[in-house]
Amino acid sequence: MATPEPTSAVRVEGLRKVFQSRGRGGKDVVAVDDVSFDLAKGGSLAVVGESGSGKTTLARMVLGLEHPTSGRILLAGTDRTEQPRTSAARRERAREIQIVFQDPYRSLDPRQSAVRCIEEVLRVHGMGNADERRARIAELMDVVGLDDRQARALPKALSGGQRQRVAIARALALKPDVLVLDEAVAALDVSIQAQMLNLLADVRRQTGVTYLLISHDLAVVRQVTEDMIVMQRGRVVERGRSADILDRPQDAYTRLLRDSVPRPGWKPVRRSTPTMEVTG
């Protein structure tokens, strides 16, 4: 067993996930097939793919929300392949890796303001006394740019962009090493998306947090990450520096993805084969 370098934040080796079919003659689905990558501390890696590529399942396994069929997951050099069983193990993992979800409308408890939500997180993890927690919350609100009124408002009184700021603050509360961004800007309006991408860049500069970006949006990938892997039907088809891959994609599927992105001067082109989709 190779000892991973101490600088590795997330390392997965030969990860595989098979979903067993439920009953009558269905086939098992291989969602993730032999995926490996090594994400250095402070780095930023994109997992790119379309729906059904397995990128979300991969992220869920790294987060401990899904158990891999085979393969290994290491967070900061520690084996985290098994889902945590004890509450101590759960909390330990929580301080290593956090997530920001795509849907700003449903990723917050509708009954909790940002302040109450983060206060609970800090309390559960036994972080500081009431004053220290208050100071930490103020600091986090400052990082994500929410004023006092917004910090005390229930999610329904906030816009999509403001909710996503709350979600980012919540994820940063425990000072995790790694932040998984699961399509975290995909549901936002263009002008809000730009604010959020700048915020993510600032956060990374300030905290040195490592990003694992799950996305289908190549422009966002280029803006946020240095490295990327491209997944198609559970397998990695291309990997390398984000800028290099987007400038000179080698794999046919990566090229197709790139050519499908609307940009100035772009015209949609129909592929020769009428159906390239997997249908039920």
């Binding site: 945590p84 330990e92 559960v124």
Partner: protein, 286 residues
């Protein structure tokens, strides 16, 4: 073009983002609050002694002496209705409180654990539905003796599957929301997520179901009283009053059965309307 019609309907529903309880809902809530107040202050507001027998004034028609008339024993019907509201409300309250507590515990546990456990719970709850509540209550009375306690517990047991089924479907929806996964990733224990986050967010659904069930429980308990198996005379109780007044109907004095029946019908109706409105508000929210 059916697609267009559907588009319009979705749009119309989307605009009404936070509907309130509405006129009917608030009227029902107000009516029930009034009944509850009456029950609390019953001894202070009865115009006459609800237990005082005065055979000389039996079956007096509604009027100035007896606002709603008197019963076969010459007791004031209004006073008996006022005091009777206590047992008539307390019984169903006990039933729905017990059923909702047990039902939602089963439901949330089942939705959270999922898998085979959830499947077994669903089967058991399905089978549970076939328990006839009233028969169970009669059996309980036969074993433990008459009174309020035995039929309330028996009915509560037969009401658990209703609460469990409704709450489980809500809990399964809620559990799939990203905020619950975020809490898991934050390292929160299952107990904390279920009690501090799932339960409060499901509360409107549980309350809506319990409100509707309250009406049914009231009818069931009235039926048990009517059969003489619940609250015993001379304690005033609406169901019992319907039963005791039935001889009067044949003699042309329907007031006791009529007014007691009306009290039950109006209260049940109000509970149903209110429960319906609450569950709509919940659905619009989610």
């Amino acid at each position: 073009m059916s697609a267009l019609v559907m588009g319009r309907r979705r749009l119309a529903a989307g605009r009404e983002a936070y509907p309130r309880l509405g006129v009917l809902g608030w009227t029902s809530a107000g009516f029930l609050a009034l009944i509850a107040l009456i029950a609390v202050f019953a001894p202070l507001i009865t115009p006459q002694d609800p237990l005082a027998i005065d055979l000389g004034n039996a079956h007096v028609a509604p009027g100035t002496d007896y606002f709603l008339g008197s019963d076969a024993n010459g007791r004031d019907i209004l006073s008996r209705l006022i005091v009777g509201s206590r047992t008539s409300l307390l019984g169903p309250l006990g039933v729905v409180a017990l059923a909702a507590a047990a039902g939602s515990t089963i439901a949330i546990a089942s939705a959270w654990i999922g898998g085979r456990f959830d499947q077994i719970v669903v089967r058991v709850v399905d089978a549970w539905f076939s328990f006839p509540g009233i028969l169970l209550a009669i059996l309980a009375v036969a074993v433990f003796g008459s009174g309020l306690m035995a039929p309330v517990i028996a009915l509560a047991i037969s009401y658990i599957p209703y609460s469990a089924r409704v709450t489980r479907s809500g809990a399964i929806r809620e559990r799939r929301l990203p905020y619950v996964e975020a809490l898991q990733v934050q390292g929160f224990s299952a107990w904390r997520i279920c009690t501090r986050h799932l339960l409060p967010n499901l509360a409107p659904l549980i309350v809506a179901q319990a409100t509707v069930a309250f009406g049914y429980a009231m009818v069931d308990l009235a039926a048990i009283s009517f059969l003489g198996l619940g609250v015993q005379p001379p304690t005033p109780d609406w169901g019992l009053m319907v039963s005791q007044g039935k001889n009067g109907i044949l003699q042309g004095h329907p007031q006791e059965t009529l007014f007691a029946g009306l009290a039950i019908v109006l209260t049940v109706l109000a509970f149903n309307l209110l429960g319906d409105r609450i569950s709509r508000v919940y659905q619009e929210r989610s």
